[in-house]
Symmetry: C2
Subunit: 100 residues, 2 copies
Amino acid sequence: MTTVTEHAVLPVLPGQAAEFIETMDRAKAIIAASPGFISLRVARCVEQPDTFLLLVEWETLEDHTVGFRGSDAYLEWRALLHHFYDPSPVVEHFETVVTA
Amino acid sequence: MTTVTEHAVLPVLPGQAAEFIETMDRAKAIIAASPGFISLRVARCVEQPDTFLLLVEWETLEDHTVGFRGSDAYLEWRALLHHFYDPSPVVEHFETVVTA
């Protein structure tokens, strides 16, 4: 099965990284309960510690773009997390073509 | 053990995506042989098909920045792949802080 990776680079407001990590650790249960969710990883940039990488694996593109984004759970996810970001992150989707 | 993720968004020149994928599929053996290499994933953007995501897991930051980049193998990697990119990609490193 080909999965789809949701990808975003998250610019977190200065001084809010620790609170962001704590909030993401709570909010992950919201996205993890969405149909088609496979896994989530949030990672912190070594060179720019206010920048984070969000990678979410979905069974299909629509599980994210239609299912999750159209749900009440997404409103809760947004309310918890989006105030940490400036500017708003660009979210794109990727399909794996090479692995090693 | 905390691993380090090398991350780059690769802007491949228009019309060269198929050749890039084929070349990456051969070139991956070069990076995979480098000490500290754990895994590689290259994925193609759904929204912008000339854009690719490169994720390489390393045991430590220095396995990439000193070991691989200081090796003859890196010169070979560069020669095979870097002519596909315009502009040159920004490479950063990330450490996982939240998973689900």
